[in-house]
Homo-oligomer: 315 residues x 2
Amino acid sequence: MGTYVIGIDVGGTSVKMGLFDKGGRLICKWSIPTDRSDGGIHILPDIALSVKKQLADKKISLSEAAGAGIGLPGPVMGSQTVYGCPNLGWGRVNAAAQLSAALDGMKTAAVNDANAATLGEMWQGSGKGCSSLVMVTLGTGVGSGVIIGGQIVEGAFGAAGEIGHMCMNPQETRLCGCGKRGHLEQYASATGIVRETRAALESSSQPSVLRELSDFDAKAIFDAARAGDAFALSRVKELADVLGRALAAVSCVLDPQVFLLGGGVSGAGEFLSSAVQDSYRHYAFSGTEETPVRIAALGADAGIYGAAKLVLGEE
Amino acid sequence: MGTYVIGIDVGGTSVKMGLFDKGGRLICKWSIPTDRSDGGIHILPDIALSVKKQLADKKISLSEAAGAGIGLPGPVMGSQTVYGCPNLGWGRVNAAAQLSAALDGMKTAAVNDANAATLGEMWQGSGKGCSSLVMVTLGTGVGSGVIIGGQIVEGAFGAAGEIGHMCMNPQETRLCGCGKRGHLEQYASATGIVRETRAALESSSQPSVLRELSDFDAKAIFDAARAGDAFALSRVKELADVLGRALAAVSCVLDPQVFLLGGGVSGAGEFLSSAVQDSYRHYAFSGTEETPVRIAALGADAGIYGAAKLVLGEE
Protein backbone atom coordinates (compact mmCIF):
# COMPACT_ATOMS: atom_id res chain seq x y z
CA MET A 1 0.00 0.00 0.00
CA GLY A 2 1.14 3.52 -0.81
CA THR A 3 2.22 6.28 1.53
CA TYR A 4 -0.19 8.91 0.31
CA VAL A 5 -3.91 9.24 -0.23
CA ILE A 6 -5.95 11.66 -2.34
CA GLY A 7 -9.24 13.28 -1.37
CA ILE A 8 -11.48 14.85 -4.03
CA ASP A 9 -14.61 16.96 -3.46
CA VAL A 10 -16.65 17.67 -6.57
CA GLY A 11 -18.90 20.74 -6.45
CA GLY A 12 -20.97 22.46 -9.11
CA THR A 13 -18.38 25.18 -9.78
CA SER A 14 -15.04 23.71 -8.68
CA VAL A 15 -13.39 20.44 -7.77
CA LYS A 16 -11.27 20.61 -4.62
CA MET A 17 -8.46 18.11 -4.20
CA GLY A 18 -6.04 17.31 -1.40
CA LEU A 19 -2.96 15.15 -1.04
CA PHE A 20 -2.64 13.59 2.41
CA ASP A 21 -0.25 11.29 4.18
CA LYS A 22 -1.92 8.26 5.73
CA GLY A 23 -1.78 9.86 9.18
CA GLY A 24 -4.22 12.51 8.02
CA ARG A 25 -1.79 15.39 7.42
CA LEU A 26 -2.81 17.58 4.47
CA ILE A 27 0.33 17.97 2.33
CA CYS A 28 -1.19 20.25 -0.28
CA LYS A 29 -4.57 21.17 -1.72
CA TRP A 30 -5.60 22.60 -5.04
CA SER A 31 -8.69 22.98 -7.20
CA ILE A 32 -9.84 22.98 -10.81
CA PRO A 33 -13.04 24.36 -12.37
CA THR A 34 -15.91 21.90 -12.82
CA ASP A 35 -16.54 21.52 -16.56
CA ARG A 36 -20.24 20.77 -16.76
CA SER A 37 -20.38 20.87 -20.57
CA ASP A 38 -21.46 17.77 -22.54
CA GLY A 39 -23.42 16.38 -19.58
CA GLY A 40 -20.37 16.56 -17.34
CA ILE A 41 -18.41 13.83 -19.15
CA HIS A 42 -15.13 15.74 -18.84
CA ILE A 43 -15.21 16.00 -15.05
CA LEU A 44 -13.62 12.67 -14.13
CA PRO A 45 -10.92 12.77 -16.88
CA ASP A 46 -10.07 16.35 -15.81
CA ILE A 47 -9.70 15.20 -12.21
CA ALA A 48 -7.48 12.25 -13.16
CA LEU A 49 -5.25 14.49 -15.26
CA SER A 50 -4.92 17.02 -12.45
CA VAL A 51 -4.12 14.32 -9.88
CA LYS A 52 -1.45 12.81 -12.12
CA LYS A 53 0.07 16.24 -12.73
CA GLN A 54 0.12 17.06 -9.00
CA LEU A 55 1.75 13.72 -8.14
CA ALA A 56 4.34 14.19 -10.92
CA ASP A 57 5.10 17.71 -9.63
CA LYS A 58 5.67 16.24 -6.17
CA LYS A 59 7.75 13.39 -7.69
CA ILE A 60 5.28 10.83 -6.31
CA SER A 61 4.55 7.78 -8.45
CA LEU A 62 0.96 6.52 -8.85
CA SER A 63 1.92 3.35 -6.97
CA GLU A 64 2.87 5.41 -3.93
CA ALA A 65 -0.75 6.53 -3.59
CA ALA A 66 -2.90 4.18 -1.49
CA GLY A 67 -5.97 5.45 -3.30
CA ALA A 68 -8.27 8.31 -4.21
CA GLY A 69 -11.66 9.00 -2.65
CA ILE A 70 -14.22 11.19 -4.40
CA GLY A 71 -17.10 13.08 -2.80
CA LEU A 72 -20.09 13.82 -5.05
CA PRO A 73 -23.22 15.97 -4.74
CA GLY A 74 -25.74 13.13 -5.01
CA PRO A 75 -26.79 9.85 -3.40
CA VAL A 76 -24.00 7.24 -3.56
CA MET A 77 -24.56 3.52 -3.06
CA GLY A 78 -21.96 0.90 -2.20
CA SER A 79 -19.11 3.46 -2.24
CA GLN A 80 -19.23 3.19 -6.04
CA THR A 81 -22.16 4.57 -7.95
CA VAL A 82 -23.85 7.93 -7.69
CA TYR A 83 -27.57 7.91 -8.56
CA GLY A 84 -27.65 11.26 -10.30
CA CYS A 85 -25.99 14.64 -9.65
CA PRO A 86 -28.22 17.38 -11.14
CA ASN A 87 -25.49 19.96 -10.39
CA LEU A 88 -23.00 18.10 -12.59
CA GLY A 89 -25.41 17.11 -15.33
CA TRP A 90 -24.91 13.46 -14.36
CA GLY A 91 -27.34 10.58 -14.34
CA ARG A 92 -26.29 7.29 -12.78
CA VAL A 93 -22.49 7.04 -12.89
CA ASN A 94 -20.12 4.47 -11.41
CA ALA A 95 -17.71 7.24 -10.45
CA ALA A 96 -15.37 5.00 -8.47
CA ALA A 97 -14.83 2.60 -11.40
CA GLN A 98 -14.43 5.38 -13.98
CA LEU A 99 -12.00 7.32 -11.82
CA SER A 100 -10.00 4.16 -11.11
CA ALA A 101 -9.74 3.43 -14.83
CA ALA A 102 -8.58 6.99 -15.51
CA LEU A 103 -5.98 6.65 -12.73
CA ASP A 104 -4.48 3.45 -14.17
CA GLY A 105 -6.30 1.14 -11.74
CA MET A 106 -5.76 3.08 -8.53
CA LYS A 107 -7.94 2.04 -5.60
CA THR A 108 -10.92 4.43 -5.46
CA ALA A 109 -14.13 4.95 -3.54
CA ALA A 110 -17.06 7.34 -3.98
CA VAL A 111 -19.11 8.99 -1.28
CA ASN A 112 -21.88 11.56 -0.97
CA ASP A 113 -20.34 14.97 -0.22
CA ALA A 114 -22.19 15.53 3.07
CA ASN A 115 -21.12 12.07 4.23
CA ALA A 116 -17.54 12.85 3.15
CA ALA A 117 -17.53 16.01 5.28
CA THR A 118 -18.82 14.05 8.27
CA LEU A 119 -16.16 11.37 7.84
CA GLY A 120 -13.51 14.08 7.49
CA GLU A 121 -14.59 15.70 10.75
CA MET A 122 -14.48 12.28 12.46
CA TRP A 123 -10.96 11.68 11.13
CA GLN A 124 -9.27 15.01 11.75
CA GLY A 125 -11.90 17.51 12.92
CA SER A 126 -14.41 18.13 15.72
CA GLY A 127 -15.51 14.50 15.78
CA LYS A 128 -12.03 13.06 16.28
CA GLY A 129 -12.11 10.03 18.57
CA CYS A 130 -15.83 9.38 17.98
CA SER A 131 -17.33 6.48 16.06
CA SER A 132 -20.93 7.70 15.94
CA LEU A 133 -21.80 11.25 14.96
CA VAL A 134 -24.28 13.29 12.98
CA MET A 135 -23.13 16.43 11.19
CA VAL A 136 -25.66 18.95 9.97
CA THR A 137 -24.52 21.33 7.23
CA LEU A 138 -26.33 24.65 7.22
CA GLY A 139 -25.77 26.22 3.82
CA THR A 140 -28.02 27.12 0.90
CA GLY A 141 -29.84 23.94 1.93
CA VAL A 142 -29.59 21.75 5.01
CA GLY A 143 -27.70 18.49 4.52
CA SER A 144 -26.30 15.97 6.93
CA GLY A 145 -24.06 12.98 7.28
CA VAL A 146 -24.64 10.06 9.61
CA ILE A 147 -21.89 7.77 10.89
CA ILE A 148 -22.66 4.79 13.13
CA GLY A 149 -20.02 2.33 14.31
CA GLY A 150 -17.43 4.20 12.25
CA GLN A 151 -19.38 3.53 9.05
CA ILE A 152 -21.27 5.99 6.87
CA VAL A 153 -24.99 5.22 6.74
CA GLU A 154 -25.98 5.51 3.06
CA GLY A 155 -29.58 4.35 3.41
CA ALA A 156 -31.72 1.99 1.34
CA PHE A 157 -32.34 4.68 -1.31
CA GLY A 158 -29.14 6.67 -0.61
CA ALA A 159 -31.31 9.14 1.29
CA ALA A 160 -29.86 8.78 4.79
CA GLY A 161 -28.83 12.17 6.13
CA GLU A 162 -31.63 14.09 4.42
CA ILE A 163 -32.38 15.73 7.75
CA GLY A 164 -33.17 18.97 5.91
CA HIS A 165 -36.42 17.29 4.91
CA MET A 166 -37.56 16.40 8.40
CA CYS A 167 -41.05 17.83 8.94
CA MET A 168 -40.82 20.26 11.85
CA ASN A 169 -44.19 21.93 11.34
CA PRO A 170 -47.07 19.91 9.87
CA GLN A 171 -49.21 23.09 9.87
CA GLU A 172 -46.85 24.94 7.50
CA THR A 173 -48.59 26.16 4.33
CA ARG A 174 -45.49 27.25 2.35
CA LEU A 175 -43.60 24.70 0.29
CA CYS A 176 -40.06 23.39 0.79
CA GLY A 177 -37.88 23.17 -2.33
CA CYS A 178 -38.67 19.43 -2.41
CA GLY A 179 -42.40 20.09 -2.81
CA LYS A 180 -43.51 19.10 0.69
CA ARG A 181 -44.16 21.36 3.69
CA GLY A 182 -42.67 22.45 7.00
CA HIS A 183 -39.21 20.95 6.49
CA LEU A 184 -36.19 21.87 8.60
CA GLU A 185 -34.50 23.36 5.54
CA GLN A 186 -37.28 25.97 5.30
CA TYR A 187 -36.27 27.35 8.70
CA ALA A 188 -32.59 26.51 9.16
CA SER A 189 -30.84 26.97 5.81
CA ALA A 190 -29.03 30.25 5.16
CA THR A 191 -31.84 31.28 2.81
CA GLY A 192 -34.53 29.99 5.16
CA ILE A 193 -33.19 32.00 8.10
CA VAL A 194 -33.30 35.19 6.03
CA ARG A 195 -36.78 34.42 4.65
CA GLU A 196 -38.18 33.71 8.13
CA THR A 197 -36.56 36.86 9.47
CA ARG A 198 -38.03 39.02 6.70
CA ALA A 199 -41.48 37.55 7.38
CA ALA A 200 -41.11 38.21 11.11
CA LEU A 201 -39.98 41.80 10.44
CA GLU A 202 -43.06 42.39 8.31
CA SER A 203 -45.48 40.94 10.82
CA SER A 204 -44.13 42.88 13.80
CA SER A 205 -43.24 46.46 14.62
CA GLN A 206 -40.39 45.59 16.99
CA PRO A 207 -37.41 47.88 16.33
CA SER A 208 -34.29 46.27 14.91
CA VAL A 209 -31.09 47.37 13.17
CA LEU A 210 -32.07 44.90 10.45
CA ARG A 211 -34.84 47.32 9.39
CA GLU A 212 -32.18 49.85 8.42
CA LEU A 213 -30.48 47.46 5.99
CA SER A 214 -31.69 47.40 2.40
CA ASP A 215 -30.63 43.76 2.24
CA PHE A 216 -29.18 41.30 4.73
CA ASP A 217 -27.88 37.74 4.92
CA ALA A 218 -27.80 35.17 7.73
CA LYS A 219 -24.49 36.54 9.00
CA ALA A 220 -26.00 40.02 9.44
CA ILE A 221 -28.73 38.52 11.62
CA PHE A 222 -26.16 36.79 13.84
CA ASP A 223 -24.04 39.96 13.99
CA ALA A 224 -27.06 42.01 15.07
CA ALA A 225 -28.01 39.39 17.68
CA ARG A 226 -24.47 39.33 19.04
CA ALA A 227 -24.57 43.14 19.30
CA GLY A 228 -27.69 42.83 21.46
CA ASP A 229 -30.48 43.52 18.94
CA ALA A 230 -33.48 41.96 20.71
CA PHE A 231 -35.37 41.19 17.50
CA ALA A 232 -32.34 39.49 15.92
CA LEU A 233 -31.77 37.56 19.14
CA SER A 234 -35.33 36.26 19.01
CA ARG A 235 -34.66 35.03 15.46
CA VAL A 236 -31.50 33.18 16.52
CA LYS A 237 -33.47 31.66 19.39
CA GLU A 238 -36.16 30.52 16.94
CA LEU A 239 -33.50 28.94 14.69
CA ALA A 240 -31.83 27.23 17.66
CA ASP A 241 -35.23 25.98 18.81
CA VAL A 242 -36.05 24.19 15.56
CA LEU A 243 -32.50 22.87 15.12
CA GLY A 244 -32.31 21.60 18.70
CA ARG A 245 -35.67 19.89 18.26
CA ALA A 246 -34.48 18.18 15.07
CA LEU A 247 -31.27 16.99 16.76
CA ALA A 248 -33.31 15.66 19.69
CA ALA A 249 -35.42 13.68 17.21
CA VAL A 250 -32.22 12.21 15.74
CA SER A 251 -30.90 11.46 19.21
CA CYS A 252 -33.87 9.42 20.37
CA VAL A 253 -33.39 7.19 17.32
CA LEU A 254 -29.58 6.98 17.04
CA ASP A 255 -28.12 8.45 20.24
CA PRO A 256 -24.83 9.53 18.58
CA GLN A 257 -21.77 10.56 20.59
CA VAL A 258 -21.70 14.08 19.18
CA PHE A 259 -23.53 16.49 16.86
CA LEU A 260 -21.55 18.81 14.59
CA LEU A 261 -22.78 21.94 12.86
CA GLY A 262 -21.08 22.84 9.58
CA GLY A 263 -21.72 24.96 6.49
CA GLY A 264 -21.75 28.75 6.09
CA VAL A 265 -24.22 29.41 8.90
CA SER A 266 -21.94 27.59 11.37
CA GLY A 267 -19.54 30.54 10.95
CA ALA A 268 -21.63 32.04 13.78
CA GLY A 269 -19.54 29.73 15.99
CA GLU A 270 -20.19 29.06 19.64
CA PHE A 271 -22.89 31.76 19.69
CA LEU A 272 -24.91 29.35 17.53
CA SER A 273 -23.78 26.02 18.97
CA SER A 274 -24.48 26.98 22.58
CA ALA A 275 -27.97 28.20 21.67
CA VAL A 276 -28.63 24.93 19.82
CA GLN A 277 -27.16 22.96 22.74
CA ASP A 278 -29.66 24.64 25.12
CA SER A 279 -32.58 23.90 22.83
CA TYR A 280 -31.37 20.33 22.27
CA ARG A 281 -31.20 19.77 26.02
CA HIS A 282 -34.76 21.08 26.37
CA TYR A 283 -36.14 18.58 23.83
CA ALA A 284 -33.80 15.58 24.26
CA PHE A 285 -34.79 12.35 25.99
CA SER A 286 -33.42 12.52 29.51
CA GLY A 287 -30.74 9.86 28.94
CA THR A 288 -29.20 11.84 26.09
CA GLU A 289 -29.37 15.46 27.27
CA GLU A 290 -25.60 15.82 27.56
CA THR A 291 -24.69 14.92 23.96
CA PRO A 292 -22.40 17.77 22.85
CA VAL A 293 -23.29 20.05 19.93
CA ARG A 294 -20.04 21.38 18.38
CA ILE A 295 -19.04 23.56 15.45
CA ALA A 296 -17.25 21.58 12.72
CA ALA A 297 -13.53 22.33 12.52
CA LEU A 298 -12.40 21.71 8.96
CA GLY A 299 -14.63 24.17 7.11
CA ALA A 300 -14.62 23.73 3.35
CA ASP A 301 -11.79 21.16 3.57
CA ALA A 302 -13.91 18.57 5.44
CA GLY A 303 -14.95 16.95 2.15
CA ILE A 304 -11.42 16.25 0.89
CA TYR A 305 -10.42 14.88 4.31
CA GLY A 306 -13.42 12.55 4.35
CA ALA A 307 -12.98 11.35 0.77
CA ALA A 308 -9.35 10.51 1.58
CA LYS A 309 -10.34 8.73 4.79
CA LEU A 310 -12.98 6.69 2.98
CA VAL A 311 -10.48 5.11 0.64
CA LEU A 312 -8.03 4.50 3.49
CA GLY A 313 -10.76 2.61 5.34
CA GLU A 314 -9.80 1.28 8.77
CA GLU A 315 -6.06 1.69 8.11
CA MET B 1 -19.74 -24.81 17.66
CA GLY B 2 -22.97 -26.36 18.87
CA THR B 3 -26.06 -27.27 16.90
CA TYR B 4 -28.56 -25.35 19.03
CA VAL B 5 -28.99 -21.85 20.34
CA ILE B 6 -31.06 -20.47 23.20
CA GLY B 7 -33.02 -17.21 23.21
CA ILE B 8 -34.19 -15.65 26.49
CA ASP B 9 -36.54 -12.69 26.93
CA VAL B 10 -36.76 -11.31 30.46
CA GLY B 11 -39.90 -9.37 31.31
CA GLY B 12 -41.21 -7.98 34.58
CA THR B 13 -43.59 -10.89 35.19
CA SER B 14 -42.18 -13.83 33.23
CA VAL B 15 -39.06 -14.99 31.45
CA LYS B 16 -39.70 -16.50 28.03
CA MET B 17 -37.18 -18.94 26.63
CA GLY B 18 -36.78 -20.72 23.31
CA LEU B 19 -34.56 -23.48 21.97
CA PHE B 20 -33.68 -23.01 18.29
CA ASP B 21 -31.62 -24.79 15.73
CA LYS B 22 -29.05 -22.60 14.02
CA GLY B 23 -31.25 -22.27 10.95
CA GLY B 24 -33.77 -20.33 13.03
CA ARG B 25 -36.33 -23.08 13.63
CA LEU B 26 -37.99 -22.83 17.05
CA ILE B 27 -37.78 -26.33 18.57
CA CYS B 28 -39.59 -25.53 21.80
CA LYS B 29 -40.44 -22.58 24.02
CA TRP B 30 -41.28 -22.31 27.67
CA SER B 31 -41.39 -19.72 30.44
CA ILE B 32 -40.78 -19.26 34.14
CA PRO B 33 -42.01 -16.53 36.50
CA THR B 34 -39.68 -13.57 37.07
CA ASP B 35 -38.63 -13.61 40.73
CA ARG B 36 -38.04 -9.93 41.50
CA SER B 37 -37.43 -10.49 45.22
CA ASP B 38 -34.07 -9.52 46.80
CA GLY B 39 -33.38 -6.95 44.09
CA GLY B 40 -33.81 -9.53 41.34
CA ILE B 41 -30.69 -11.55 42.23
CA HIS B 42 -32.46 -14.87 41.62
CA ILE B 43 -33.43 -14.13 38.04
CA LEU B 44 -30.25 -15.21 36.25
CA PRO B 45 -29.66 -18.36 38.39
CA ASP B 46 -33.34 -19.34 37.84
CA ILE B 47 -32.88 -18.93 34.09
CA ALA B 48 -29.68 -21.00 34.05
CA LEU B 49 -31.35 -23.78 36.01
CA SER B 50 -34.34 -23.81 33.69
CA VAL B 51 -32.14 -23.87 30.57
CA LYS B 52 -30.09 -26.76 31.95
CA LYS B 53 -33.23 -28.68 32.83
CA GLN B 54 -34.74 -28.11 29.37
CA LEU B 55 -31.55 -29.24 27.64
CA ALA B 56 -31.35 -32.33 29.88
CA ASP B 57 -34.99 -33.17 29.10
CA LYS B 58 -34.17 -32.95 25.40
CA LYS B 59 -30.99 -34.99 25.93
CA ILE B 60 -28.87 -32.10 24.64
CA SER B 61 -25.52 -31.49 26.34
CA LEU B 62 -24.41 -27.94 27.20
CA SER B 63 -21.60 -28.23 24.64
CA GLU B 64 -24.15 -28.80 21.89
CA ALA B 65 -25.50 -25.29 22.49
CA ALA B 66 -23.73 -22.59 20.48
CA GLY B 67 -24.80 -20.02 23.05
CA ALA B 68 -27.55 -18.22 24.89
CA GLY B 69 -28.73 -14.67 24.17
CA ILE B 70 -30.67 -12.70 26.74
CA GLY B 71 -32.99 -9.75 26.10
CA LEU B 72 -33.46 -7.31 28.98
CA PRO B 73 -35.80 -4.38 29.68
CA GLY B 74 -33.10 -1.71 29.92
CA PRO B 75 -30.24 -0.08 27.98
CA VAL B 76 -27.52 -2.61 27.14
CA MET B 77 -24.00 -1.63 26.10
CA GLY B 78 -21.45 -3.78 24.29
CA SER B 79 -23.80 -6.81 24.23
CA GLN B 80 -22.81 -7.37 27.87
CA THR B 81 -23.95 -4.97 30.53
CA VAL B 82 -27.40 -3.58 31.22
CA TYR B 83 -27.42 -0.10 32.77
CA GLY B 84 -30.38 -0.61 35.06
CA CYS B 85 -33.71 -2.45 34.72
CA PRO B 86 -36.24 -0.78 37.06
CA ASN B 87 -38.78 -3.54 36.27
CA LEU B 88 -36.38 -6.21 37.57
CA GLY B 89 -35.01 -4.25 40.51
CA TRP B 90 -31.59 -4.25 38.83
CA GLY B 91 -28.91 -1.60 38.77
CA ARG B 92 -25.94 -2.06 36.46
CA VAL B 93 -25.46 -5.78 35.82
CA ASN B 94 -23.10 -7.60 33.46
CA ALA B 95 -25.86 -10.02 32.55
CA ALA B 96 -23.89 -11.75 29.80
CA ALA B 97 -20.96 -12.59 32.09
CA GLN B 98 -23.18 -13.70 34.98
CA LEU B 99 -25.35 -15.88 32.76
CA SER B 100 -22.28 -17.41 31.13
CA ALA B 101 -20.84 -18.28 34.55
CA ALA B 102 -24.14 -19.87 35.60
CA LEU B 103 -24.19 -21.88 32.34
CA ASP B 104 -20.70 -23.32 32.86
CA GLY B 105 -18.99 -20.87 30.50
CA MET B 106 -21.47 -21.01 27.62
CA LYS B 107 -21.14 -18.21 25.05
CA THR B 108 -23.67 -15.52 25.92
CA ALA B 109 -24.71 -12.04 24.79
CA ALA B 110 -27.14 -9.50 26.20
CA VAL B 111 -29.41 -7.14 24.30
CA ASN B 112 -32.13 -4.60 24.99
CA ASP B 113 -35.52 -6.29 24.59
CA ALA B 114 -36.79 -3.93 21.87
CA ASN B 115 -33.56 -4.46 19.93
CA ALA B 116 -33.92 -8.22 20.41
CA ALA B 117 -37.42 -8.14 18.93
CA THR B 118 -36.15 -6.15 15.94
CA LEU B 119 -33.29 -8.59 15.37
CA GLY B 120 -35.74 -11.50 15.67
CA GLU B 121 -38.00 -9.98 13.00
CA MET B 122 -34.98 -9.47 10.74
CA TRP B 123 -33.93 -13.09 11.21
CA GLN B 124 -37.24 -14.95 10.87
CA GLY B 125 -40.04 -12.39 10.72
CA SER B 126 -41.34 -9.50 8.63
CA GLY B 127 -37.86 -8.06 8.13
CA LYS B 128 -36.36 -11.26 6.70
CA GLY B 129 -33.83 -10.47 3.98
CA CYS B 130 -33.28 -6.89 5.18
CA SER B 131 -30.15 -5.51 6.80
CA SER B 132 -31.55 -2.11 7.83
CA LEU B 133 -34.87 -1.77 9.57
CA VAL B 134 -36.62 0.11 12.33
CA MET B 135 -39.27 -1.63 14.40
CA VAL B 136 -41.66 0.39 16.52
CA THR B 137 -43.38 -1.43 19.36
CA LEU B 138 -46.74 0.04 20.33
CA GLY B 139 -47.58 -1.28 23.78
CA THR B 140 -48.01 0.32 27.20
CA GLY B 141 -45.20 2.57 25.98
CA VAL B 142 -43.64 3.09 22.57
CA GLY B 143 -40.25 1.47 22.08
CA SER B 144 -38.18 0.76 19.04
CA GLY B 145 -35.20 -1.10 17.74
CA VAL B 146 -32.82 0.15 15.08
CA ILE B 147 -30.68 -2.10 12.89
CA ILE B 148 -28.23 -0.67 10.35
CA GLY B 149 -25.90 -2.80 8.26
CA GLY B 150 -27.20 -5.89 10.07
CA GLN B 151 -26.03 -4.50 13.41
CA ILE B 152 -28.13 -3.27 16.33
CA VAL B 153 -27.54 0.43 17.04
CA GLU B 154 -27.16 0.70 20.83
CA GLY B 155 -26.30 4.40 20.99
CA ALA B 156 -23.71 6.34 22.98
CA PHE B 157 -25.87 6.23 26.13
CA GLY B 158 -27.76 3.05 25.20
CA ALA B 159 -30.67 5.29 24.22
CA ALA B 160 -30.92 4.52 20.50
CA GLY B 161 -34.44 3.43 19.63
CA GLU B 162 -36.15 5.69 22.18
CA ILE B 163 -38.44 6.87 19.40
CA GLY B 164 -41.30 7.01 21.91
CA HIS B 165 -39.64 10.17 23.21
CA MET B 166 -39.50 12.01 19.90
CA CYS B 167 -41.20 15.37 20.33
CA MET B 168 -44.14 15.48 17.91
CA ASN B 169 -45.86 18.53 19.34
CA PRO B 170 -43.76 21.26 20.97
CA GLN B 171 -46.99 23.07 21.97
CA GLU B 172 -48.20 20.16 24.11
CA THR B 173 -48.89 21.17 27.73
CA ARG B 174 -49.41 17.68 29.22
CA LEU B 175 -46.39 15.68 30.38
CA CYS B 176 -45.02 12.43 28.98
CA GLY B 177 -44.07 9.76 31.53
CA CYS B 178 -40.44 10.87 31.08
CA GLY B 179 -41.21 14.39 32.32
CA LYS B 180 -40.99 16.20 28.97
CA ARG B 181 -43.81 17.16 26.62
CA GLY B 182 -45.43 16.21 23.34
CA HIS B 183 -43.69 12.86 22.88
CA LEU B 184 -44.83 10.19 20.42
CA GLU B 185 -45.60 7.85 23.31
CA GLN B 186 -48.25 10.29 24.56
CA TYR B 187 -50.21 9.78 21.33
CA ALA B 188 -49.27 6.35 20.01
CA SER B 189 -48.97 3.99 22.98
CA ALA B 190 -51.96 1.79 23.84
CA THR B 191 -52.67 4.02 26.85
CA GLY B 192 -52.00 7.20 24.86
CA ILE B 193 -54.47 6.23 22.13
CA VAL B 194 -57.20 5.68 24.73
CA ARG B 195 -56.39 8.90 26.60
CA GLU B 196 -56.43 10.95 23.40
CA THR B 197 -59.69 9.33 22.34
CA ARG B 198 -61.35 10.09 25.70
CA ALA B 199 -60.23 13.71 25.45
CA ALA B 200 -61.58 13.96 21.90
CA LEU B 201 -64.89 12.41 22.96
CA GLU B 202 -65.24 14.97 25.74
CA SER B 203 -64.42 17.94 23.52
CA SER B 204 -66.83 16.99 20.72
CA SER B 205 -70.44 15.92 20.40
CA GLN B 206 -69.88 13.65 17.41
CA PRO B 207 -71.84 10.40 17.88
CA SER B 208 -69.81 7.22 18.35
CA VAL B 209 -70.37 3.68 19.58
CA LEU B 210 -67.49 4.37 21.96
CA ARG B 211 -69.80 6.68 23.97
CA GLU B 212 -71.94 3.65 24.84
CA LEU B 213 -69.04 1.76 26.40
CA SER B 214 -68.35 2.31 30.10
CA ASP B 215 -64.69 1.58 29.40
CA PHE B 216 -62.70 0.83 26.26
CA ASP B 217 -59.18 -0.07 25.18
CA ALA B 218 -57.20 0.61 22.00
CA LYS B 219 -58.60 -2.55 20.38
CA ALA B 220 -62.18 -1.30 20.89
CA ILE B 221 -61.29 1.90 19.04
CA PHE B 222 -59.89 -0.06 16.08
CA ASP B 223 -62.90 -2.39 16.10
CA ALA B 224 -65.28 0.57 16.01
CA ALA B 225 -63.28 2.21 13.22
CA ARG B 226 -63.27 -0.99 11.21
CA ALA B 227 -67.07 -1.21 11.65
CA GLY B 228 -67.38 2.28 10.12
CA ASP B 229 -67.70 4.48 13.22
CA ALA B 230 -66.68 7.89 11.84
CA PHE B 231 -65.41 9.23 15.15
CA ALA B 232 -63.26 6.12 15.79
CA LEU B 233 -61.99 6.33 12.21
CA SER B 234 -60.89 9.90 12.81
CA ARG B 235 -58.96 8.73 15.88
CA VAL B 236 -57.17 5.99 13.90
CA LYS B 237 -56.36 8.58 11.26
CA GLU B 238 -54.91 10.88 13.93
CA LEU B 239 -52.77 8.02 15.29
CA ALA B 240 -51.58 7.07 11.81
CA ASP B 241 -50.77 10.72 11.13
CA VAL B 242 -48.45 11.11 14.10
CA LEU B 243 -46.85 7.68 13.59
CA GLY B 244 -46.29 8.25 9.89
CA ARG B 245 -44.74 11.62 10.65
CA ALA B 246 -42.36 10.03 13.20
CA LEU B 247 -41.36 7.30 10.72
CA ALA B 248 -40.74 9.96 8.05
CA ALA B 249 -38.43 11.75 10.50
CA VAL B 250 -36.53 8.49 11.03
CA SER B 251 -36.40 7.89 7.30
CA CYS B 252 -34.78 11.20 6.39
CA VAL B 253 -31.99 10.37 8.83
CA LEU B 254 -31.52 6.61 8.31
CA ASP B 255 -33.49 5.63 5.20
CA PRO B 256 -34.05 2.02 6.36
CA GLN B 257 -35.28 -0.72 4.02
CA VAL B 258 -38.46 -1.37 6.00
CA PHE B 259 -40.46 -0.21 9.02
CA LEU B 260 -42.18 -2.76 11.24
CA LEU B 261 -44.98 -2.17 13.71
CA GLY B 262 -45.14 -4.51 16.70
CA GLY B 263 -46.65 -4.64 20.18
CA GLY B 264 -50.26 -5.03 21.27
CA VAL B 265 -51.60 -2.16 19.15
CA SER B 266 -50.17 -3.79 16.01
CA GLY B 267 -52.84 -6.47 16.46
CA ALA B 268 -54.96 -4.06 14.40
CA GLY B 269 -53.01 -5.48 11.46
CA GLU B 270 -53.12 -4.13 7.95
CA PHE B 271 -55.91 -1.74 8.91
CA LEU B 272 -53.26 0.07 10.95
CA SER B 273 -50.21 -0.46 8.76
CA SER B 274 -51.88 0.78 5.59
CA ALA B 275 -53.09 3.94 7.36
CA VAL B 276 -49.57 4.54 8.69
CA GLN B 277 -48.15 3.82 5.23
CA ASP B 278 -50.38 6.54 3.73
CA SER B 279 -49.38 9.06 6.36
CA TYR B 280 -45.70 8.09 6.04
CA ARG B 281 -45.88 8.64 2.28
CA HIS B 282 -47.42 12.08 2.87
CA TYR B 283 -44.57 13.20 5.14
CA ALA B 284 -41.59 11.27 3.72
CA PHE B 285 -38.82 12.85 1.67
CA SER B 286 -39.59 12.11 -1.97
CA GLY B 287 -36.71 9.64 -2.40
CA THR B 288 -38.03 7.43 0.40
CA GLU B 289 -41.79 7.48 -0.06
CA GLU B 290 -42.00 3.82 -1.02
CA THR B 291 -40.37 2.36 2.11
CA PRO B 292 -42.81 -0.35 3.25
CA VAL B 293 -44.53 -0.23 6.66
CA ARG B 294 -45.35 -3.79 7.74
CA ILE B 295 -46.86 -5.50 10.76
CA ALA B 296 -44.30 -7.57 12.70
CA ALA B 297 -44.79 -11.31 12.28
CA LEU B 298 -43.42 -13.01 15.37
CA GLY B 299 -45.60 -11.40 18.04
CA ALA B 300 -44.45 -12.05 21.59
CA ASP B 301 -41.83 -14.55 20.35
CA ALA B 302 -39.77 -11.90 18.52
CA GLY B 303 -37.60 -11.33 21.60
CA ILE B 304 -36.48 -14.94 21.99
CA TYR B 305 -35.74 -15.17 18.26
CA GLY B 306 -33.63 -12.02 18.39
CA ALA B 307 -31.74 -12.98 21.54
CA ALA B 308 -30.87 -16.31 19.91
CA LYS B 309 -29.80 -14.59 16.68
CA LEU B 310 -27.61 -12.14 18.58
CA VAL B 311 -25.47 -14.89 20.07
CA LEU B 312 -25.28 -16.69 16.72
CA GLY B 313 -23.95 -13.51 15.14
CA GLU B 314 -23.25 -13.68 11.43
CA GLU B 315 -23.31 -17.49 11.36
